[in-house]
């Protein structure tokens, strides 16, 4: 009987209703921060994708002025988003792996697009438009992937 009495709920033991409320509170807290962390990363990646399309089209179709302007816009945009990202107050979980994968794929596609296109396809919309869209795919794909499961445990 002692064991049973010791094991009985006490005044500090949450009732089932209180336990359920605490679980709900925890789930909402986790979802809120995870959502904020995911949203700004998604915005960054989609902006990066849009800028990629613009720069590739500018470089491929704009002649020498396009190459010059594209070369200026790229680093300017990169610097701006780096500062913006550094100011964000929540770092999403699993960001590093996905982000790194997207950046590596993007860099390979971007480099290949320019190396293959600039010598032989300058001004050819049939090459540069699909190339620009394909180059943006890694950023869009990672941005639209479901976020890391926002479970508390």
């Amino acid at each position: 009987m002692d064991d049973m009495s010791n094991d009985a709920p006490t005044a500090t033991t949450p009732t089932p209703r209180e336990a359920a409320a605490a679980l709900d509170l925890a789930a909402r807290s986790t979802a809120r921060t995870a959502g904020i962390g995911h949203r700004w990363v998604r915005s960054l990646l989609l902006a990066w994708a849009a800028m990629t399309i613009a720069v590739v089209l500018l470089v491929g179709l704009g002649g020498i002025p396009g190459i010059v302007i594209g070369s200026l816009i790229g680093p300017l945009f990169g610097g701006t988003i780096a500062i913006w990202a550094a100011r964000q107050g929540i770092r999403a979980r699993s960001l590093n792996g996905r982000y790194l994968l997207a950046v590596v794929l993007w860099a390979v596609l971007y480099g290949a697009t320019l190396v293959l296109g600039l010598p032989a396809q300058a001004g050819n919309l049939a090459y540069w438009l699909p190339a620009a869209l394909v180059t943006a795919v890694p950023m869009v794909a990672v941005a639209l992937l479901p976020r890391h499961a926002g479970r508390t445990a």
């Binding site: 064991d3 006490t10 336990a19 809120r32 921060t33 107050g89 770092r91 508390t152």
Partner: protein, 108 residues
């Protein structure tokens, strides 16, 4: 004394609603700065500061500092032991919530 009742697995440190909110909020991210965490769980600066100190003393949260330009920024991140404690606490809460709930009307 037996430890069969799930209340024995509740964690005293994170039993407080604010501290539970803090560790749960941090469980969903790699880290969060003080302002974002305060806004997410809707507490005052002083309340969050106090609870973060308790959690840091318990080894559940790691506090680091850096700067954005000239402005100092405080980051909080859940430690592995904090994550383990949260997992155990939530499991205990689930057990209490599920095992002791009265049967639904449809089940009677």
């Amino acid at each position: 004394m037996t430890a069969s009742h799930p209340r024995h697995r509740l964690d005293d440190v994170i039993h407080s609603p604010v501290r539970l909110s803090v560790v749960a909020a941090l469980a969903g991210v790699e880290k969060a700065d003080f302002k974002s965490l305060r806004d997410a769980i809707e507490v005052s600066d002083s309340a969050l500061s106090k609870q973060l100190t308790v959690l840091e003393d318990a080894g559940y949260v790691e506090i680091t500092k850096d700067r954005v330009g000239r402005r100092p920024r405080t980051w909080a991140a859940l430690t592995p032991s904090g994550r383990t404690a949260l997992t155990g606490h939530l499991q205990a809460l689930r057990a209490i919530a599920e095992q002791q709930l009265p049967p639904r009307v449809a089940d009677v």
